[in-house]
């Protein structure tokens, strides 16, 4: 049995827990991100590394320092976004610089020259451990199913509160219900039970009466980590909700997996999971951005255009400071905003971002959106 952890990103740990529990390993939940996590990450990460790298590095250092972890897993990648190289850098910094001892498992896709089938096979054998093949595949399938269901339900609830919080004055009621449901879903081991918890939470959140009006609708686009991990964006979404802005996110963990892992699966797995293709993204990002630029750069442009077509008031673009794909997207969003006459606020985050400046910009943006509504009416 291994004691495994991996970097924290929003609620994704709920899914990983389901998979590793099913395989009989112990999953050590990554500690919540705090100021200390960021300080640690900033201290040991390269100066110009992306902010998500600094946070996750800090989170791994915290997890390793507890002494409860002996294995870390991370997904690799093939670029061109820097994310694909995180694993190599984690290992270099944690082992060479800080001298931690642990087993590091890097999941690189078998694509030359970055990885090959042998590396993938070695990892499969590591996971299999003592189990028989039959048992291993059964458990793995069960684990994935449960993980997928949990992630989907958690995301549905998140989407719900991102809307609901804008309509009620006392948002603590909404959040209490939500947090309780998340806790229960995380511990549940049964598909039907997950559905039941979801249903109950959804009904009771929806039952809270709306007591605010004139709610704006804003879409969120940008880099996935900074959007999903509230501590990294200083809780921008909540700040918007509190000021009467309903939010729709365009990036999610499950969607990320659908877009990035599914297309690489071999036949017939790809067909079984229902790969949808990326036609929408390609269609809507034209003519502004005509090529995949890594990360969610192209998605940011396409979703912005979609939000415009669906009649949203504006878009908030969230990116980590110096993120390569999103910096390209940012430049192009300037043209999108100009040509479609659509307000876009780009917010970049790193360890130096102060809350005071952020709130000022958010409030000014909201005033601008209200003004536009009034002018249009």
């Amino acid at each position: 049995m291994r004691r495994i952890t991996l970097p924290r990103m929003g609620y994704s740990y709920i899914g990983f827990r389901a998979v590793f529990d099913a395989l009989g390993h112990e999953f050590v939940e990554p500690p919540p991100i705090t100021k200390r996590t960021i300080d640690l990450g900033v201290k040991y990460a390269p100066e110009f590394a992306c902010f998500p790298f600094k946070i996750t590095l800090g989170s791994l250092i915290e997890a390793l320092s507890t002494g409860k972890v002996d294995t870390i897993i991370t997904a690799g990648g093939i670029g061109p976004c820097r994310y694909g190289f995180y694993g190599v850098m984690y290992e270099k910094i944690l082992k060479e610089e800080l001298g931690f001892d642990f087993d590091f498992i890097l999941l690189d896709p078998p694509i030359k020259p970055y990885g090959n089938m042998k590396k993938v096979w070695d990892i499969v054998l590591k996971w299999k451990g003592e189990l028989s093949w039959r048992e291993f595949i059964l458990r793995l399938t069960k684990g994935f199913k449960l993980a997928w269901r949990k992630l989907k339900k958690v995301e549905d609830l998140e989407a719900l509160i991102l809307k609901k919080r804008a309509w009620v004055k006392d948002i603590s009621k909404v959040e209490d219900l939500f947090n309780e449901a998340i806790r229960k879903i995380n511990l549940s081991m049964d598909l039907d039970e997950v559905d039941a918890i979801y249903k109950e939470a959804k009904d009771s959140i929806e039952a809270i009466p709306d007591d605010r009006g004139d709610v704006l609708k804003v879409g969120i686009v940008g880099e996935i980590y900074t959007i999903l991990e509230p501590f990294s964006n200083l809780n921008t979404e909540r700040l918007l909700n509190e000021r009467g802005v309903e939010i729709e996110r365009s990036v999610w963990t499950t969607e990320f997996i659908e877009y990035n892992v599914f297309p690489g699966l071999p036949f017939p797995l790809k067909q079984m999971v229902g790969w949808k293709g990326k036609d929408d993204i390609v269609k809507y990002s034209k003519p502004f951005l005509n090529e995949f630029v890594g990360g969610h750069g192209r998605e940011s442009v396409a979703h912005t255009v979609m939000f415009k077509e669906r009649g949203f008031d504006g878009v908030v673009h969230i990116l980590p400071f110096s993120c390569m794909p999103e910096v390209v997207a940012r430049g192009i969003l300037e043209r999108v905003g100009r040509e479609l006459d659509f307000p876009i606020l780009s917010l970049s985050f790193d360890e130096f971002t102060g809350e005071a400046g952020l709130i000022t910009r958010i409030e000014a943006f909201i005033d601008l959106l209200r003004m536009r509504r009034r002018m249009a009416a």
């Binding site: 100021k35 900033v42 201290k43 100066e47 790193d350 360890e351 130096f352 971002t353 102060g354 809350e355 005071a356 400046g357």
Partner: protein
Amino acid sequence: MRVYLGIDIGSVSTKLVAMSDSYEVLSAVYLRTAGRPIAALLEGLRMVEKDIGNAEVCGVGTTGSARFLASVVSGADLVKNEITAHAVAAIHELPDVKTVFEIGGQDSKIIIIREGVVVDFAMNTICAAGTGSFLDHQAQRLGIEIERFGEYALKSKNPVRIAGRCTVFAESDMIHKQQMGYSIEDIIAGLCEALVRNYLANVAKGKDLKPPYVFQGGVAANLGIRKAFEKEIGFPVYVPKYFHVMGALGMAILVKRYVEEEGIKTSFRGFRIVEDRFTSKSFECSHCPNGCEVVVIYRGSEPLACWGDRCGRWQDKFGRGSVVGELKEVA
């Protein structure tokens, strides 16, 4: 008596040291540059002359961001960058020093030394958030004299945390904290800690820090910063007696070695230059779209040197003497 003169002109302060043959500091002058390096230099020379009387100056070395200007005006024998100068002075003060923190008005440096040899160094890359002018500016904002900053900082029990990559952001965060009602002592101590944290995170990032530590530069006078350093690195820091003029001291030592080894006679123009009129004029070169600002230094109407052209056009010609006439006209 043989005397060696070290001159360090930075953008904020001008430092001069006169050192005897036996490495004894005879005069240490510290004054504000106030944007007028030539005036500050001449004023400094006047003060040094008063201290050393008519001792014989056998060598002059200049350093600091205005080292070329200072060398042209004074007739220096040796021009060196301030990192080497600071390192030499620190090694002289504490021969087994391993790490030097230097925080001045406009820039800050770290120098790593092993067995009396510089093996690594860094200067601030991002901006002024890790330097003395940041503190000066905040002291002004808070209406407190910079000299009393340390005293306030030491009174704090619970320093506030001030965020910001850059002075502008750090300042807005500080104002924010002020509006929220934190005490002035806690804010000042917080500023000191923010400066040290920024310094260690930017300038000293990835450097191999080992004791003994020497802390020098104008900011070393500030007890709050000294305490913040000790808290952050967990070791005592040694502040040398002449911490504020270490660059000039290093230059005096270097020029002494240089003059003795090469056996040359100094080209120092002598203290009488304080009576001369030195002026600098600048013009925009129209030779290419870069539009460099070329600066020419004159003594009376005689051009002494010029610089500022990226392509080296004027400097090259000046070396060959062919533009002296042209430059005279500009004057």
